[in-house]
Symmetry: C2
Subunit: 724 residues, 2 copies
């Protein structure tokens, strides 16, 4: 990619960004769009425009994002969002502090040397270089004294990262502790999840077994237990019933509407009973759905009874009247055999993955390793399609194989745009398909909570992006030439990576620019959800519930968001010293990201769970992993530059490993479980145990009419007064 | 070593063994020796000869050892001894089951082939072989169909090991659980050890800080805390005082004695006050020591006060009124920062290493790694002396360098004996020096309990013996020839190991035989302690206390005993298929060992601590490690034999790794901490908390006169009635 196409790409990206910003400023002020731009506020029952005054300033959101405090973010969007913003601001801080020094020092040092010119003149190879390359480390002569500046810069970037990420870890740890010691009663702090319960002994029911076990260990604080049942069947019926209820509401709404628009007595809606409503007998919808609902209600109740009585599993939720006991129980070994009576902290009711509670200890272990193997294989096999795509989607190839495109491509403007975006677009679309698969695989491991599954999927996605995008693209360009070299001497990989980095600098500059201008432009303007919402509301939605569903904003989607950001910081760190010109782009990415995500957290996204920042250690270790990759790259690149003091970089590698180790030692366990001191803080009010217990009844099992039927599976042994 | 010197060695060993057995039979019946052969019984206040009848049968001890139950062993010598015996019987079982099949099948298969004869005839090299070698796998031709028998044998040995070690793990786990759930009050089950307490906040004392922290978390079960103090100084004075008290008693005893033997008014003993009682003024001993004692008592009391008030450390022992709370507290994270308020199960009072309680979190971490590095370096550098010793101590070299020995060595009998023992004796003496150093290093890690330090030292010693003795001797013989090969291709190490195994078979046969005949002969007959005791009693001991100290039996000494046994099982396993003739030797070793150690556990050794079998997982993992080494060796040796189905051995390697993994998963955590269900069992009586608390006061701080002075460091906040 030459310099002009880089500038074109940058310009186009910026243009798109400006257009999207203007669109946002215009669209977000229309009251009809408030459900798209302020759903979080609306769902919390707040006025979308704070105090009623609809500001005329289109950039007011920036002021709001900056002035709102971290507590605002936590109260609007939870600790997880706040922790994510801490990550963005930490990355921003690292890049700003690195950038100030590196741009001021390294650019002059590099620009005043003339290695590239010399080699372009002297060598017989068709060496090409552009103005950007002159500003990079590639322009410094081998074994030059100037390399000292780059070595010191490598240290500077590392120490800035250590310092800021340490501070961030401490801060996040504080946020988590504050959330956990909050005086509000949180149901999950009074429960533990028990799995791998041994077979029921003769003459006892499951609930008696569980109750007597825990009553024996915790005579004073045990409250009650709830045996987990296999709710697959009952949930199926319940979902069907809810579906019919929705359709009935819809049919009634259509009927009401028809009264106002058409004839006063209205037109009763009809539907076909067969496949997708396309075939079969035509019937009156309202009557049909009512009939179906009346059919299903007794069926659901019968299935609920069967489930509670006969589908009890070897898992249970156990409730305590004390936060400390629940926290201690979640960390303690209960049985002599580690694979029975395993106890962990209960997830929030909304994020329990019920079907995974049925999976046994060794089955979970085996599933985990099988998934790891599948993921590892996928990482390796995705290398091939990525390679093929980047090989095929050159403009030349497109013209060659799809010759009818030739006239279009010949137009200079289009050609430049295509040349700039073609390889990256393929990559971005390609990566968008992965998170779903990874989330599915992570859930298949037998993980009991949604947040844990998201963390696991996010971690896997990170390895994908780093291996396939960063290393794949970097080395891929020179891979075919050097494949034999690698095969012969695997050690060479580092120096190959280092050698091929500079030639890919502009590719990644474009990639980062595309990500932040177009990505964040789309994020803020929410064009796609807006269009979908308006289309749905106009042509599909008939009832209030349907409209509400149409604008439901979802959550931040950490599965792909966090690895995406980590990929950017990895790229920027790796190039930071080699081509410092990338740093302003990184600063822009994380600056814009922080600003826009803060806005989105405050106004748009509604978290679907709260894990109190358990994501952080995973982000942190990968951030330092990125730093390690950067240091390895620098080790290789200094080697390529034949710098005599290259071994000094090894010191940094060791420092990074020690840093990770110390951080894990000092902080990690308090992210895994709840420290007892934290759990022992005073509560605002004594907890309503009945309420806590009922919060864990899955919706498909909850039943308005009859409370007594729960007694089978949901035991009640003692309801001593709470003693928290 | 040729066949005749092997037989001589075997014969000599057996002769020594028979002599020692006869000595034992004779000596153990003399009443004056009962304190050497039955100290454990005497200390427990039992009659040494059970019911008074001194049996005339010299082999009665064998019947007693066999008929006594495991409960007898536990009641006489604790769970740790019982677990060690389980290890011996498991090893015995593995070797018997392997031996039956391997001897019956493999010996005929090997003996009827003629590879060695052929190669000795055809090759130009001076190939030597003896009758033993004909019974080994070396006598089977390369790529012969007969190798199938050896492959199946390899599988058989592995599966026997899996099965028996799994059963043993389950059994030991049960022993541990039974000991922990015992209804007897054990003081350590009501306490936890708290380290890394943060700085004392302004206006609070250390004990107030600790009390308020734990009272907040455990309002119902917290009893009291004891702040750990730096007792180095006070212990120094206390030891001095105790020394003077002993000397006074001794002087008085001498004085009393002189009244009966010499003049009726007696002769007052005198001593010199200077260095070692050799120089200085001569004084009346009784007066002098009385004076010294009267001087030291107020000094000790003053130092006790200073220690309790001013030498408080950032550690404390915290006592609970409930076993479950103490067990849960030992497993739970207490503070948001993992490196402060770290809580672990309290060790028994007698095995606390007080000075290690003063060491801080990161200091412990760093010490651990420093010790690991030192140990690793030691392993590597000990290779050199071992190599040198085995190179120098050949008979030829002896004669060459110490030519005056020539006439002695020329005598055939002496020559054969020397040839047989010289290399092994050097090795055994050499290894005897190590355990002390390793125990010292392990304590330097900052480990708070004696039993843990012993485990750590034993683990390190195992790596020493395996690396230096087994691999060192095996490869060492052929090392100098093949050093260049290894340097060039490290992969070759396995096949070099495999190739050099057969030629060292007789060396190890002798080694094992020496170990069990001479080692266990000495163990049972206790000749050395017996002689030392009689000498001491005759020439040194004057008081009853001194006599008692002279026969104090000590404990089993796991530091060197366990690695020694593990070395034998490693050697026997590795040779089991290659030269099955080693199996009967292994069976004899573990059979005799089990018998004699059972006798010693019942009658002789007094355990100095009880860790409830925490040693077992370490033994087990190393046992399977030995199996892995065996499998790797077989992989190499089948490769050397050019057997086409060699890769089948890899399956075994994977199986072993899975087996270790499953065992660790299933059992290990319950060895690290006390399962709550186990701790929740009923107690015989409600615990006397005051007694439990006082058990942890170090002897140098305990004081008969004044109870109140403890209130400074040993806080007393609540003495609620116990609620276990």
């Amino acid at each position: 990619m030459d310099f002009s196409s880089f500038l074109t790409s940058l310009g186009t990206s910026f243009l798109i960004f400006v257009v999207l910003m203007l669109l946002f400023a215009w669209l977000s002020r229309k009251p009809g769009n408030s459900v798209i731009y302020y759903p979080n506020r609306i769902l919390k029952g707040m006025d979308p425009w704070e105090g009623g005054k609809r500001t005329r300033n289109p950039f007011a959101w920036i002021r709001e994002a900056i002035t709102s405090s971290e507590d605002d973010v936590i109260s609007m969007s939870g600790v997880d969002s706040a922790v994510y913003l801490v990550f963005l601001s930490t990355a921003l801080g690292i890049l700003i502090l690195s950038g100030i020094v590196l741009l001021l020092v390294l650019l002059p040092v590099a620009a005043t040397d003339n290695n590239l010119k010399l080699s372009a003149n002297s060598s017989t190879s068709n060496g090409t270089f552009n103005d950007l390359d002159k500003l990079s480390m590639g322009n410094v002569k081998a074994n030059s004294e100037r390399l000292w500046a780059f070595l010191i810069a490598t240290y500077w970037v590392s120490f800035v990262t250590y310092y800021l990420s340490w501070k961030a870890y401490k801060h996040v740890s504080g946020l988590r502790a504050a959330a956990l010691k909050s005086p509000d009663v949180k149901v999950e702090q009074f429960a533990v999840l028990v799995r791998d319960i041994p077979a029921v002994p003769e003459g006892k029911t499951r609930k008696e077994q569980v109750d007597s076990y825990f009553k024996g260990i915790y005579p004073d604080t045990f409250y009650r237990s709830m045996v987990v049942t296999d709710i697959k069947q009952v949930t199926k019926i319940w979902v069907k019933l809810e579906g019919y209820k929705k359709k009935l509401a819809r049919a009634e709404a259509i009927y009401e509407q028809s009264k106002t628009t058409g004839s006063p007595e209205g037109k009763r809606p009809m539907n076909k009973t067969g496949f997708l409503g396309l075939v079969g007998k035509k019937v009156d919808s309202i009557e049909y759905y009512n009939e179906k609902i009346n059919e299903l209600i007794p069926k659901l109740e019968a299935e609920q009874k069967v489930t509670l009585r006969e589908k009890q599993q070897a898992s249970a939720l156990v409730f305590f009247t004390s936060r400390v006991t629940a926290a201690a129980a979640g960390q303690s070994l209960h049985d002599q055999m580690v694979d029975s009576w395993t106890v962990i902290d209960a997830p929030e009711p909304r994020q329990i993955i019920w079907k995974n509670l049925l999976i046994k200890f060794y089955s979970r272990e085996i599933r985990q390793y099988v998934v790891y193997i599948i993921v590892a294989l996928t990482i390796l096999f995705y290398m091939i399609p990525i390679g093929l795509i980047s090989a095929v989607t050159t403009l030349k190839n497109l013209v060659k194989y799809l010759s009818f495109l030739k006239p279009i491509v010949e137009i200079v403007a289009i050609k430049t745009v295509l040349e700039a975006y073609l390889p990256q677009l393929a990559l971005i679309i390609f990566l968008a398909l992965l998170p779903k698969l990874l989330l599915y695989l992570s859930k298949a491991e037998g993980i009991p909570s949604q947040s844990h599954a998201v963390r696991a999927a996010s971690g896997k996605y990170f390895y994908f992006t780093i291996l396939n995008v960063f290393i794949g693209v970097t080395v891929g360009g020179t891979l075919f030439d050097t494949f034999k070299t690698i095969e012969d001497q695997p050690k060479e990989l580092v120096s190959i990576l280092a050698k091929s980095l500079p030639s890919n600098a502009t590719f990644f500059l474009t990639f980062v620019a595309l990500k932040f201008f177009v990505g964040y432009g789309l994020e803020l303007s929410r064009i796609v959800p807006l269009i979908i919402f308006h289309l749905k509301r106009k042509y599909l939605c008939k009832t209030e519930t349907e409209v509400k569903e149409a604008w439901a904003p979802g959550d931040l989607g950490y599965v792909s968001r966090v690895p995406g950001d980590l990929l950017i910081i990895t790229i920027v760190l790796c190039y930071s010293v080699i081509a410092p010109i990338i740093l302003p782009f990184g600063v822009l990415y994380f600056g814009l990201g922080w600003l826009i995500l803060r806005n989105q957290a405050l106004k748009v996204y509604v978290p679907s769970y709260e894990s109190n920042g358990r994501m952080w250690p995973h982000i942190h270790v990968r951030l330092i992993g990125a730093l390690l990759l950067y240091q390895v790259t620098m080790l290789g690149y200094f080697g390529v530059k034949e710098f005599r003091y290259t071994p000094f970089v090894i010191v940094l590698l060791i420092l990074s490993l020690i840093f990770i180790f110390v951080c894990q030692k000092k902080f990690y366990r308090s992210f895994q479980s709840v420290p007892l001191e934290v759990a022992s803080h005073e509560l605002k009010e004594s907890p309503n145990m009945e309420h806590i217990f009922r919060a864990y009844i899955p919706p498909s099992l909850s039943c308005e009419k009859d409370e007594e039927q729960f007694e089978d599976a949901l035991s009640q042994v003692s309801r001593t007064t709470s003693s928290v």
